[in-house]
Symmetry: C2
């Protein structure tokens, strides 16, 4: 893996050095919101991430302390990816991105009604999702 290039001391720039791409936050989404925790589960998400991109992103997210690798409770052949507290703390970012999409982009009807619920109960839903992620 290429070493992480830090472009400036700006906090926005620094977080984008880590998760500023089209895929990393989808892996965080899959763990936080879709109950996925393994390589094959991430691979089956509907955006169809390529295997080399997935491996690269998992490695970067682990190196930067957002993901932790553990032995899968059901199979020694699988790795179980868990979000660290640092990773779980990305949830408010995900929520604001989803709310922006809900207002400004054409999206699925099911997604839209989830977004509406999220808008009405933002703080409570963030707390609930974070608590669930900490129990994984």
């Amino acid at each position: 893996m290429k070493p992480l290039k830090v472009r400036s001391g700006c906090p926005l720039s620094s977080v984008l050095d880590i998760i500023g791409d089209k895929w990393s936050l989808l892996i965080v989404r899959d763990i936080l919101m879709n109950g996925k925790n393994t390589y094959n589960e991430f691979l089956r998400s509907k955006e169809r991430i390529a295997t080399n991109v997935l491996a690269d992103r998992l490695s970067l997210l682990e190196t930067t302390g957002i993901l932790a690798r553990e032995e899968h409770p059901e199979s020694k052949a699988k790795i179980f990816y868990r979000l660290t507290d640092k990773g779980i703390d990305l949830l408010p970012v995900l929520v604001e991105l989803i709310l922006w999409s809900n207002t400004h982009l054409p999206i699925d009807e099911a997604a839209r009604s989830y977004g509406e619920a999220l808008k009405r109960n933002k703080e409570a839903m963030i707390r609930q999702l974070m608590a669930a992620a900490r129990k994984q």
Copy 2:
């Protein structure tokens, strides 16, 4: 410019199709938070964006309705880039990214104290920055 590829109906995936890269949100930051509005001003930011990347990102942000191009009030030779309401609505995303960095990454001291202020007065500072951006 390549046409925008939409990977799924997921709202998170859809917004990342537009701003899921290391540079787009830095341009939004420069307009919203640093009072920059021209190609040369963006180019001079400390992350040192490459000219071809900047041109590509400006074009994508304009096509997707986040930026609007206008004649510069002081020079006909320059383009003035203004955020649309859709662009200004990205501010809460920027704020959550900055707050995450403030907690989890090594960043400039000046940036850190700005982040602490942002944490204490989040809603008020978002309102203030949005109002200022609408007046541009």
